[in-house]
């Protein structure tokens, strides 16, 4: 039953990597400890590295540069890899961090001395320089102080540059960031009073530790670099496996669905920009302290592209991958290309080939970058270390296992689903005169309907009658032109989708909008976003409270998935794009339930399902309803509507043409006409 893999040039590389992964040197370590042991080994190696190469200063220096680029790659990975926002001007934040330190730790800007500066002198932030014709102020802010300050300052610019791009889709966002990436070096060049223009800042102070200056010896910088990269790896991994990381990945996978599941797009995109920029800002400070100079050329477009190449090479979204990518490319650049060129020259002399003797690989590094980008995109888009691990496919027996729908006892279900009943006064959802226009087309015309607590309302109507638009308008995806929507007694029209979800209204989409490259479990846990509270700081600290919240969320997600019996539980670690159509529908419903809604909007939940699956799902929906959940259902299968709905609303051409119990609506002349045309309704009348 195993499918034979066809071998193409692309998959040979994949097979080689698969082989390497199988021959993993950590095979003897217990699986749950592997990550920790691997991290520890990497750290020991990094610490011992200067000794291993005999303290060769030039080599340690290039290793320190490699660490700087690893930090940049980690920062860009937050923006591009986690949140999916392609930033082509990332070097701008590197420049901002570099110049911030350069400005406060050099003799570039020296205002006249006055009493104002005395407290700063006392704090060792400035020094008084005695000079004929008036004393001057010399900024001498410590490197260690500037490291977090530059990070914060760059983060501010991250928000500033990120804010205008929020509404743009991927490729346009890339262009705007590219524009900012160009503007920053030009401003630096044209603002000589602060930056010394094209000449660059010189004489930037080296860091000091316990009174000893780092000077120009590479080793201390190397260890600072190791610390910086370790800190950023720690930050990245903690964020990635938290509520924050899940929210970013949800935005990356499907922005609309993310906001419909409660993720505040603006907030989390800006957070990604800010954290990514902060990484670059700190790295800029480190880099300039190491070089003790900064020029605009160090931060141009090629640098942004180089960092992009590093993360594409290592694996977009993979924390260790991007570190590896950065280190390999830097080491390649500073060590191997020179040697390789020499070898090629020798080879050329040996076999008498002229051009081989003149090849200079070091100057072709950008050509190599270009080739890496193209070939990685064509043949190995997941990079050296893929961000998502492959999971075992289900065996034939598991795939064809008899469907067992555990029917949890009512008490059990209460625990799983929480309290979903609305007990306030009045109906749960009240829509009055809702009108939505798209240009000249009126998609909804003054539609009113109300959903009492603990009821199932079905919305039916021919294609194009405005059913999905109704859902979109109610959940905030489309702004209504007129009308009122009250939910649980409060007006919600015009609120953004994530707020609507937070109020207790969750939905599914007609054409399934899951997060395709995330697992079943991750999808459902994103549904819980609005119910959880961990922010970036909490994710980093991972205090007991956060751990408990995360563990409870995971457990709750599994319980919700178990409502679908053994349909989803065996596939919990599978990416949803590999699931069958019906299972994807089920995951989408589970994701909506995870937000613990009071009202569930289902847009054609049984579309594309066979009769047995339809029946199964209808029973499950019925059970949710019995539990107290109110449901609005768009559905074409009338048997499902009749068996579930307390009340049916019929839309045609954006107007409500009938409302009532399923039996009443089924006999309504107008409804028959809308569905079958006038002649059918006449014939129906004749038969009656």
């Amino acid at each position: 039953m195993a499918e034979r893999e066809t071998i193409t040039p692309g998959s040979i590389g994949g097979l080689a990597f698969a082989f390497l992964q199988k021959a993993s040197p950590l095979q003897w370590v217990a699986p749950h400890l592997r990550a920790h042991v691997g991290t520890a080994l990497a750290f020991v190696f990094a610490i011992a590295f200067p000794l291993m190469i005999d303290r060769n200063d030039a080599d340690i220096d290039s290793a320190a540069n490699a660490l700087a680029f690893a930090s940049l790659a980690l920062g860009l990975n937050i923006v591009v890899g986690f949140a999916g926002l392609l930033d082509l001007g990332y070097a701008a934040f590197f420049a901002i961090g570099a110049y911030t330190y350069g400005f406060f730790a050099s003799a570039q800007f020296m205002p006249a001395w006055s009493g104002f500066w005395e407290p700063f002198e006392w704090l060792h932030l400035v020094a008084r320089v005695h000079q004929d014709g008036g004393d001057l102020v010399h900024f001498t802010v410590s490197f260690w102080l500037m490291l977090p300050f530059s990070a914060a300052f760059a983060a501010l610019f991250g928000i500033l540059f990120g804010a205008p791009t929020l509404r743009l889709k991927g490729d346009y966002l890339a262009i705007v960031t590219l524009g900012f990436g160009e503007i920053v070096p030009i401003v630096v060049r044209n603002w000589p009073s602060v930056t010394n223009g094209a000449m660059g800042l010189n004489g930037v102070a080296a860091p000091q530790l316990f009174g000893h200056s780092f000077g120009i010896n590479a080793t201390p910088y190397y260890f600072v670099g190791v610390g910086l990269v370790a800190l950023l790896i720690f930050t990245s991994t903690r964020l990635k496996s938290s509520r924050v990381g899940r929210a970013w990945m949800a935005i990356r996978e499907d922005e609309i669905a993310a906001s419909a599941m409660g993720v505040d797009r603006v907030k989390f995109k800006l957070l990604a920009f800010a954290i990514g920029a902060a990484f670059a800002g700190a790295t800029g400070t480190y880099f300039v302290a190491k070089l003790q100079t900064a020029t605009p050329e160090m931060f141009m477009f090629p640098v942004s592209v180089m960092i992009l190449v590093m993360i594409v090479f290592g694996g977009i979204g993979s924390v260790w991958g991007v570190v590896l990518g950065a280190v390999i490319l830097q080491v390649l650049q500073s060590w191997f290309l020179e040697d390789l060129s020499q070898w090629l020259h020798a080879l050329g002399r040996l076999i008498g080939v002229q051009w081989l003797q003149h090849i200079e690989l070091v100057s072709s590094i950008e050509l190599i970058f270009g080739l890496i980008l193209v070939f990685m995109m064509l043949y190995r888009r997941q990079g050296l270390i893929p961000a998502t691990r492959k999971v075992r496919a289900l065996s034939l027996a598991e795939q064809t296992a008899r469907v067992e729908l555990a029917a949890p006892a009512p008490a059990e279900r209460v625990r799983v689903l929480g309290d979903m009943t609305y007990r306030g006064p009045g109906p749960l959802l009240e829509i009055k005169g809702l009108t939505v226009r798209f240009g000249g087309l009126v998609a909804l015309r003054e539609v009113s309907l109300s959903v009492p607590a603990h009821s199932v309302v079905a919305v039916i109507g021919p294609n194009g009658s405005g059913k999905s638009t109704l859902f979109n308008a109610v959940t905030g995806l489309v702004a209504p032109n007129a009308g009122k929507v009250h939910f649980a007694g409060h007006p919600i029209e015009g609120l953004p989708p994530h707020v609507v979800l937070g109020r207790g209204m969750a939905r599914t989409f007609q054409n399934i909008r899951l997060f395709p490259n995330l697992t079943v479990l991750e999808n459902v846990m994103i549904g819980m976003h609005a119910r959880l509270h961990t922010g970036a700081v909490g994710a980093l600290m991972r205090l007991p409270g956060t751990r408990r919240e995360e563990a409870a969320a995971r457990e709750h997600a599994i319980e919700i998935l178990s409502l679908f019996g053994n349909r989803l539980i065996p596939r919990i670690d599978h990416v949803v794009s590999s699931l069958s159509y019906a299972n994807r529908r089920r995951v989408e419903i589970a994701r909506a339930l995870a937000s613990n809604p009071k009202l569930l909007l289902l847009d054609e939940p049984t579309a594309g399902m066979n009769p047995a699956e339809t029946l199964e799902l209808a029973q499950q929906i019925k059970r949710l309803h019995e539990h107290g959940l109110a449901i609005v259902l768009i559905e074409h299968k009338l048997d499902v509507v009749v068996s579930l709905a307390d009340n049916v609303v019929v839309l045609d051409h954006g107007e409500k043409i009938a409302e009532g119990t399923p039996d009443v609506v089924r006999r309504d002349e107008e409804v028959i006409r809308a569905y079958l045309g006038r002649s059918a309704s006449l014939r129906g009348a004749a038969v009656a």
Partner: protein, 309 residues
Amino acid sequence: MGWEAVYLQQVINGLSLGAMYALLALGFTLVYGILELINFAHFNVFMVSSFIGMMALEFFGLSGQSHILTGLALAGVMAFAFVATMLVAGLLGVAIERFALRPLRGIPGTVGMITTIGISYILFNLVLLTKGAGSFNFPNPMPRVAWTIAGATLDLREVLIWGVALVLMTGLHLFVNKTRIGKAMRATAQDSEAARMMGVDVDRVIVMAFFLGSALAGAAALIFGLYYNYTSFIIGYTAGLRAFTAAVLGGIGSVTGAMVGGIIIGLIEALGGQLIAVRWTDVIIFSILVLVLVFAPTGLMGRANPTKS
């Protein structure tokens, strides 16, 4: 020169630059209109084309600006140079589409764009490695004929540039709107799935878009060389970004928009350099790019919507 003459002169310069940017912008817009792909390779297809144009002119033994041709000889050499450059550039575009982009078609997200950045880098560095970092004197056989209008100078080369641009843009307009394959292109741009079902060979349409766009970049590259009398491996980036800004300003995906946007950017570059300072020109143009994308993403006459996701 009085100030009126200075400004008139800058308007003349701006129109020439604008004609070049418009031709280059058309390449971005044709490909974007059909594939929704921002083609960074276009920057350096333009740059490579300028070297092809140089070779085409050198083929006639021309070098520098001292070999002056007149009459039929001039017309013949110019026609050959334009046709040869456009043809080779067009084929380069087709090759890029065939070997690097077609295998990635249908993959969502920014994969295609990242690939075009890679191709752009490859072209850039191939020229750098084979030709070196210096700038090359671009052959220009046009006689030094100039007219003085209200104190400003109008060169023959400017007339030629405007003429070529006008002919090519009219030709493209007629091609897109009056021919069968042009109709297929417009249909594919609207909805490639539906076009395919109606029997349009979408692959052919895409190849055509790359060919036409790259050929126009070839014409723009020759104009660049004739206008500035030099070429170098770095010319693709700045000119490309300005042309891209023109395409966005006009409304990416819109052929007329690219033409109008190109002229506007050319005028802004010439007059902005005069009114503010040349060193801020790039900041002005990038700011326009950012502002248009953020506040009026459909541009002057676009239909594409950069904010939809």
